[in-house]
Structures are given as structure tokens and as C-alpha cells.
Point group: C2
Chain length 167, copies 2
């Protein structure tokens, strides 16, 4: 998948994602394994938005050191979500992950031309969300807003292309 880097500042956190995940594992008496350690490191060093497939593409192949099988990648991504390290959502039919731990709450603009995700924050949206929920006596756990359309870069390309078509 062709996904973009985020654009928001980090938020100060007490522990590194690695440490935080260690604590999570210990608290549930799960095990620290080479695969898990390697994946936390990979996910928090390189990626902003990604899906299982694009992550696997950047990982060592079978036979190479630090190889992690596909099922283990899927299983571990789920754990990251449970641990609060990642958030996931659906986009074009697949599951997209993004950093949650150490990043502020935000929503997305999604360009349907280049498939780039752009983040934005809005306090007003949160207020509005809680207001709507309250009116319906609904207990909010989370929300997901995706604004679809065409980004500035792609709009420009289009215009250029149209002009060329006229020549």
C-alpha cells in the first residue's frame, strides 16, 4: 500500500514503545520473544501508516536473520493494538495501522488519487462528537472520521494534465 507519513508532533511519553510493550507483556504474563522485540522496533522506527503487507515487505525474507512469519506478524499487530501502541482502521478493504502511543488523537483526510493519508486535529470535532453522543445517551469509546477527496498535489496534477490534453 502507498501510505504517507504523518504530520503531527509527538506527545511526550514516559516510556519508549519498546519499554511500554515489555510492561504490557509482563502485566499479562506473556513472553518477550525475539520476534516481538524486532517488530516493535521496526514498527516504531520506520512506519507511520501501514498495513500488514507493506510491513512484511520491509521485513527480512524467509531464511534471513530476524525472519518473522506472516501469521506472527498479524498476531503481533493485534497485540500492539491491545497494548495501546497502535490503532487500526479499515481503508479500501484492508486494515491500516498507525502509531497511537506517543501520538495525539487525530483524524484523516484521504486522497483517493494518490491514497495519501493526511492527519489533522480538531478539538471542535471532539466536542461535537460528545455532544451528539450525549443527546443519544450513547457512551463513546472512540470515533473515526475520514474525509475523502483529492489533495492539493493531485488537484494540481489534474489541472496540468487537462491543460496538456488541450495542446
Amino acid at each position: 500500500m502507498d501510505v504517507a507519513e504523518g504530520s503531527l508532533e509527538r506527545v511526550p511519553v514516559a516510556l519508549s514503545p519498546e519499554k511500554r510493550f515489555e510492561e504490557y507483556l509482563q502485566s499479562r504474563s506473556l513472553r518477550q520473544t525475539g520476534q516481538r522485540r524486532f517488530l516493535v522496533e521496526q514498527v516504531f522506527s520506520t512506519h507511520e501508516h501501514f498495513d500488514a503487507d507493506s510491513l512484511i515487505d520491509q521485513l527480512p525474507r524467509k531464511g534471513e536473520p530476524n525472519y518473522v512469519s506472516r501469521p506472527t506478524v498479524y498476531r503481533t499487530l493485534k497485540e500492539f493494538v491491545d497494548a495501546g501502541l497502535l490503532r487500526s482502521f479499515q481503508l479500501d478493504g484492508r486494515t491500516v495501522y498507525e502509531h497511537d502511543y506517543g501520538y495525539p488523537q487525530h483524524d484523516h483526510l484521504y486522497c483517493t488519487k494518490c491514497r495519501k493519508l493526511t492527519e489533522f486535529r480538531s478539538e471542535e470535532l471532539l466536542r461535537l462528537r460528545d455532544e451528539v453522543a450525549a443527546e443519544h445517551n450513547f457512551r463513546v469509546a472512540s470515533h473515526r472520521l475520514i474525509i475523502q477527496g483529492v489533495c492539493q498535489a493531485c488537484s494540481r496534477k489534474r489541472r496540468k494534465k487537462r491543460k496538456q490534453d488541450l495542446i
Copy 2:
């Protein structure tokens, strides 16, 4: 899937969904078939939110009159979306459809306990959306907001259950 009925008033439209679909087909020189006629009728008589599977469940079985094959159901639902009769979005990994033609724009509260979708409208959200998009020079095509949490009914059930647990 266990999906709920909507709650918003209709919006006045000039044509029935059936007529509107006929026009769409004619405008693209596509054909009016028994299957298509039957499916428009079914979809606009009974359902509010539904997915392909729940629709198929309510359709005649193989061998019965008006049987429509699974691939044709999928193909026809896509046409309904193209024709502007339905809108679709992803929920829990599957494609959910809802009436678009004749219904006002809206968003959803999604109860993760009973999986019920509740609709709500917010002009303020639209304003906010366009404002955010403008700041990013982003051309909006559409948006999708889903607020996840627990509905009033399910909250009540929980409380009841907890009380019983104490006895």
C-alpha cells in the same frame, strides 16, 4: 449481520427508486432485467442498513421464483451505488449498504455490543469538515464518521447484569 433500521425522515424526491434506476440504466444503455427490477424493489422495501449476506438471506433460494445468484447480487449492489441509490461503507470488515437516494446526509453511532447503527445529522460537522479541508487545500468528495461505543439499551443491560452478579 444484525443491523438496525434508520431513524431519519425521508427527503422528498421526484422519482421512486425504481424509476430513478430505470433512468440510470437507460442513460448508460444498460438493460432492465428481472433480477435488477426485483432487487431494487427488495432493497427499497425492506432494508435500511444491510450487507450482501443479510440481503441474500432474505431473497428466494435457488430453484424458487425470482432467485438471484450471489455474484449478481454483488454486481447489482455496486450498480445501485453507482446510480446513487445506495451508499456503502466498511464496518467490521464487511461492506454495509444504506439508502442514499431519498435520504438526508448523515453519520452513525455504532454500538459495539448490539451492533446497532444509529443515524444522526449534524450541519455543524459538515461546516467543520469543509473548514478543515479548506485549511489543507483539500477538495472534499465525501466523508464518513462513525462514533463507536455503547448505546443506551446496552448500557442498561450491563448495569442490570452487574447487579444480578452481586446477588
